[in-house]
Structures are given as C-alpha cells and as structure tokens.
Amino acid sequence: MTTTGTAIFYDGITSNRREVAVEIASDAIEVRGPGGCLKARWHFADIAPLTTQSGVLRVGLANAKTTARLEIHDQALATALLARANPADRTGLTDRATRLKVVGVSLAAIAALIGGAVWGVPVLADRIAPHLPVAVEMRLGAAIDMQVRQMLATSARGKPFECGAGDSPRAAAARAAFAKLVAALEGAAELPLPLHALVVRRSDVNAITLPGGRIYVFDGLLTKAVSVDEVAGVLGHEIGHVDHHDGTKSVLEAAGLSLLFGMLLGDFTGGGAVVIGARTVLQTAYSRSAEAAADEFGARLMYKVGGDPRALGAILLRISGKAVAPHFLLDHPQAQERADAIARIGRPSQTRALLTPPEWEALKSICTEG
C-alpha cells in the first residue's frame, strides 16, 4: 500500500501553491515542504474529504477554523488516505443517513404544522376574537366591506347595490318594515355592538355576515321566502354569527394559516397551491361548527321574540331542494341535519306576527321599489 507521494498544499494563510511531500504515518498524515520541514500533521480522525472536481482528492480539517487544503492528484495515495481516514464518508453512508434524518425530521415538523393549523389556529382565533375592541372589529368590517362590494356589486346595472334607498313612499315603507324586523331581533339579542343590516341587490339565495355587525340579506332570499319568520330566522342565524364574532375569527384564521403555511414553507415551488388548498379545506372544517352554533342562536332568538324557530329549517330545506350551482366545497352542514337540530329547540306556545301582512308585502318588494 502506498504511504508516500506528492500533493499540493495551501496553508490557509496565503494563497501560495506549494508542492509538498506527503507521508501516511500510523495515526496521521504528515505534510513536508522542500527540505523536509514539517508543514502540517493532520490526525486521520480530523480529516474531512471536501468537494472538488472528479479525479482529485481535496481534504481539510473538519470542525476547524482553518481553510488549509491538501490536494492529492495521485490516485493510489488518495485511496490509501481514504482507507485510513473516516471510513463512513467513503461509501456515502453518512450522506444517506443525513438525508433520511432530514426527511424524518421534516415529516415530524409537517405533522406539527398541520396539528397547529387544525387545532391551534381555530383555538387561538376563538380566544382572540372576543377580546378585540369593538372599534378594531368595526374597522376590519369596513375594510372587508370594500372588498365584498367589489366582488358582489356586479349585477346592479346602474341601480345602487343597496335596496330600499329610494325616495318614494313605498321604498320608505319597505325600509321601515326591514328596520322594524331587525330592531325586534336586535333588541332581543343583546349584542355587544350595533347591527348594520341591509338588503342588497343579488339574485343568489343567501345572506352574509362581515366582521363588526354588518349583515347583507340578498334579494334572492326575500324572493324565495314564504313568510316573515323565514327571513327573521335567517337574520337570527346571521346575528348569531355577529354574536360569536365568526367573521372576525375567520379573518384571524386566514391570517394565521397563511402565516403558518406560507411563511414557514417559504418559497417552496408550488407552495402557493398548498397554501390555498389548505386554507379552503381547513376553513370548511372550521365553519361547520360555527354554522351549527349560529343556527342554535338564531332559533333561540326566534323563540325569544315569539316567532317560529322552525321557519329557518324550512327555508334551508327549500333552498337546498335543488342545487343552484355545483358547490364544490359547501361550508354549511347538511340542510336536513340542521333542520332537525333546529326543530329540537321547540316552538313557543304563543307565536306572534313579527310584521303585519302589508309590512311583509312592502319588505318583499324592497328591491323593486327603490
């Protein structure tokens, strides 16, 4: 076995290229300059092979500040040195073990991340949302309102997005009827912040709640409803969202999830899809329990004001009777399940009409009149 040969040595202090004599001793490699003076003595255990072009062995000292390098072009000498130095590195075993460890630790980190997203983020949002000052919630609502109006106010065709804003006496009557209904529910709900409910010009059968007590009832819902109690039930459900701060929670959740997935995963190529996908799937899961809670709140509110709580279940069933659009990820629990849960709350022994028949007629035509 070769134990001596020549190599090129850089001492890490200057860039001088030195041709040196190398000898493999019992426990170390000895580097000697011209005249036999000892330039370096490196223990086998400290030697680390470093990257270079193929056909050349470049070694340095592991875990040392120095950048001294020894380059061996002599294949036989290189083989002999590697046989003595760190045996694991020669076969790529350490590399493979490192990669496996990285994969294992990464998977654990991802599991922790998903756990945090599924359980941690909603819990945090639930804890933080009720403690936000009303002013912050209102401002958040105003900001989101701008965005929502941009997205929804498309089919207005010259008419204002908001219904019932006209000057005619019939528009005023419609406005008064809606205000009466909202006031009855709001009075019973004991909310921490003032409601701001509107009927808007949209043909979809829906109603939405934004942070800060903003409720939009879509015209399509009024068209579909057969009684005041159905509209009141939906309003009660949306007031439930207001009371539970669900709009604020979902904004906090979205921010938390985009922070978790977007920032921790960094510029991972294709990461954008993961972020959006995660958000869609997870927020579907969040809102299921929130919808059930809002249903319960709405039904109890109806009970309190003397309306029929079951009307909410009835309109839910009617809406879902035929799918209006292929909803890919619907975020409301099955209509029948919800109707059953609402029916369990019962019905007050004495119901009263929340609006008079003329008022109900005026409300139904709020979007055609002004």
């Binding site: 850089y10 072009q53 950048t67 001294a68 991802i110 401002r139 799937v281 909803h327």
Partner: protein, 441 residues
C-alpha cells in the same frame, strides 16, 4: 515584453523571483462538472422536496452550490463551497422571526388604509422590496464567505442597509425613465458590490461602463418599450376618453360597440394600443435571452480582483439554445405527465365510489371531495417541481457553464500570493432572501 512572454509560456508555475513574478498568458476558466451528476442530484432533490413539503430545499441548495462551485475551475484549481444546510435552515428560521412582525405591521397598516386600497399595496411592495435588496446583499456576503479558493476565503464588506437604500433609489430612477436608467443603476450597484468584495485581503472592483451597456442594450429597449410608448401616446391623442368612460359605465360589450361605432379616431387609438402591447410582449419574450446574455457578458468583462482582469466572449446563441431546449423538455415532460395522470384518474375512477354526483350533492364536503382536492394539489406540486428541476438543469446550469467557459483572466498572477482576510458571516441574509422568495444560487 515579448521575450518575457515567450520565456513565461514554457514554465507557467514556480516563479523564479517572488518579488517580480513573470506575467502569464491569460487563463480561460473551465467547467469540469458532469451534467449527469447534476441531473441525479436535482431529481433526488425534487423528490425529497415534494416529500418534505420543501424543507429539503436547504440541503438541495447546498448540494447544488457544492456541485457548481466544484465544477468551476480557475487556473487548474476548482472553487469550493463550504456552507452547510443547517446554517441555511437556521438563517431561514431567524428570518421568519424578523419578518413575522413586519408582516403583522403591514397587515395592520392595510387595515388602517383599507385592505385592497392601492396605497397599502404599494406600501407593502416598497417595504418588502427594500427588505429583498437588503437580504440579497447579505446573502451575497454569506455565499462569498463560504467560497474557498486556494485555501483562502472570499468576503464582503459594506453595509446592507446602505446598499438597499441605494438600490431603491435606483429602482425609482429606472421606473421614472421607463428602464433607460437601468445600465447606470446596474453599473453603480455592481461597483458597490465589487468594491466591497475581497479575495483574502485582495480587494475587487468593477470596471464595466454604463454607457457601453446602454449602447448594447438600447436596441432591445427600443424594440420592446418603444412601440408601447408610441402606442400609449397614440391612444392618449386619438381616444375620446370621456366617451369611452361613458360607454364602459353602461357595462356591456354590445352597448360599448354601439357607442363607439361612429367614433373612428377612438377605434384607431384602441387598435394602436392593442397592437403596441402585443408587439411589446412578443418582443420582450423573444429578446429576453439576448438581454440576459448582453448583461452577463458585460458584467463578466467588468470584474476585477486586484490585478486580475476578466474578459468574456460569451455567445448569445448559447442562451437561446438553453431556452429552446428547456421548452422542448417541458413539452415532453408535460405529455408524459398528462398520460400518467390520465391513467391514474382512470384507475381511481374505476375502483371507487368516486362519482361526480357526490360533489353536486347538497351538503358538506365528503371525504371523497377532500381526497380529490388533495390529489389535485399533489399532482400540481409534482408537475411544478418537475418543471423547476428541468429549468435548473437545462437553463440555470447551462447558462452557468456558458458564463464560466466564456471568461479569460489576465494578470492571474495577482492571485498567487494573497494573504487571508476576514472571518465568516451568518446565513440570516440568505434566510431573509429565501423567506421573501428572492433566494437564488
């Protein structure tokens, strides 16, 4: 001089007199890596990135740099990359810690200004762009201090904050001049970077002339920006804006057409604008490789380290070949991917209750819908990682190779007796760049 040259060419090494080293003939850099090794490294890295949701990238970037550095040979000696993946990971985590409050502040500011108001968008863009420049300068310092050549490290002095401010001012100038100031910006920023670059204790500098870059690139600028500017001027002069606004306000295409029928000038103006925009986009795509090659050749030719002077004869066609090959490979990969995806879909469809009715069914998303969404995301990630792997090997590596092989260094003797310089720097800048999506090799 000629005599010395001839004597010198017979014995290139071992200077006879250390005080007066004989000049050597210019040295051409060589690329000594094997492309197959790089493919293997990149494909393995892509698979592991998919499995670890991208966390493996720190290890992959380190492997890539080790390969590229070790493949770059200067005067018979390859470069060495000494950075480690753990440094990059820690740098990234620290960067997340720094950026989280910044993001929170930006979120609060956008609430104050209205979430989608253009002002908050611009503010966020400016803040993050400044951070990106800061990160890029610090990342460069990290890479230089992890580059060893002949047993000595490179390093970088200078202030990242000052660099970021300088860069932002230049970007403002570029925006105001529609890109015409870009050669002066590039030259100025490169000068700052190279003057703060050291090999051991030997300082670098940058000799590229902004005027020269301007004259080399001005034709591309004229071909891309010129028509667009002309189109905008024509549109401004010809289009009857109040009429257009009124017609747009009515909201549908038919009424817009009807309103514009009699207005010939406006129609010509709109046509000119559309034609100019199409032309600009087309030429921007076609001329992009040429632009890259011009800037790279100019930059390589301006690099100086001590008395060592670089020159480059980079050929533009190597850039075009790289991009054309990339298009071809991506097309082939896409076909293969589509075939596999269709087969998998067929199998899944045949073997399950994976029916479309369940998606249409009223009610909540079932497990099958979530499964379909997850499968879609997985397929998308695999496709994107495949395309990015092809890009890294076919474009990035080949352009690196083309750039390396184009460089001739004269006066390389200046690098022969350099003293060691400063200590190393942390990888926080790299982490910031990574977190901001500004990471690069």
């Amino acid at each position: 001089m000629t005599i010395v040259d001839r004597v010198d060419s017979s014995s290139t090494s071992a200077p006879a007199d250390a005080h007066l080293p004989p000049p050597r003939s210019p040295v051409r850099l060589r690329f000594v890596g094997h492309r197959g090794d790089y493919w293997r490294l990149m494909i393995r890295g892509g698979v592991l990135q998919a499995v670890t949701l991208g966390i493996y990238r720190f290890w992959l970037f380190t492997d890539m740099r080790r390969f590229l550095w070790a493949s770059t040979e200067v005067d018979g000696e390859t470069l060495e990359y000494t950075g480690t993946p753990i440094e990059l990971l820690i740098g990234f985590l620290i960067a997340v810690g720094i950026l989280a409050p910044v993001y929170a502040l930006l979120f609060a500011a956008s609430l104050e200004l209205g979430i989608l108001s253009p002002l908050s968008g611009i503010a966020a863009f400016v803040v993050l762009a400044a951070f990106g420049q800061y990160a890029a300068f610090r990342a460069r310092r990290y890479r230089l201090t992890r580059t060893v050549f002949r047993g000595l490290r490179f390093h970088q002095s200078g202030s990242a904050v000052r660099y970021a401010l300088r860069a932002m001012l230049w970007w403002l100038a570029i925006a105001l001049t529609l890109g015409l100031a870009s050669p002066w910006a590039t030259a100025n920023l490169e000068r700052y970077k190279m003057r703060n670059t050291f090999y051991g204790s030997l300082g670098g500098s940058f000799a590229g002339s902004a005027g020269r870059l301007f004259w080399r690139g001005v034709l591309i600028w004229l071909a891309v920006i010129g028509p667009l500017a002309a189109g905008l001027v024509a549109a401004a002069a010809l289009i009857d804006w109040p009429a257009v606004m009124q017609a747009l306000g009515r909201g549908n295409v038919a009424s817009f057409d009807a309103a514009m029928k009699g207005n010939e000038r406006t129609m010509v103006g709109i046509g000119a604008l559309a034609a100019a925009a199409t032309w600009s986009m087309l030429f921007a795509v076609i001329l992009y490789p040429a632009y890259q090659a011009i800037v790279m050749r100019w930059w390589l030719g301006g690099v100086r380290i001590g008395g060592a002077v670089a020159a480059s004869d980079l050929q533009m066609r190597r850039y075009y070949f790289a991009y054309l090959r990339y298009l071809l490979y991506v097309a082939l990969f896409s076909i293969a991917f589509a075939v596999v995806a269709l087969l998998v879909l067929r199998l899944a469809h045949a073997s399950s209750n994976f029916t479309s009715a369940s998606i249409l069914r009223d009610g909540v998303a079932g497990p099958d819908v979530i499964l379909a969404a997850v499968a879609g995301i997985v397929a998308y990630v695999i496709y994107i990682l495949g395309v990015s792997t092809i890009y890294q090997v076919v474009v990035k590596m080949r352009l690196w190779q083309a750039a390396v092989e184009s460089v001739m260094i004269s006066g390389i003797v200046a690098l022969d007796h350099v003293q060691a310089g400063e200590a190393t720097a942390s990888a926080v800048g790299e982490g910031l760049a990574d977190a901001l999506g500004a990471g690069a090799i």
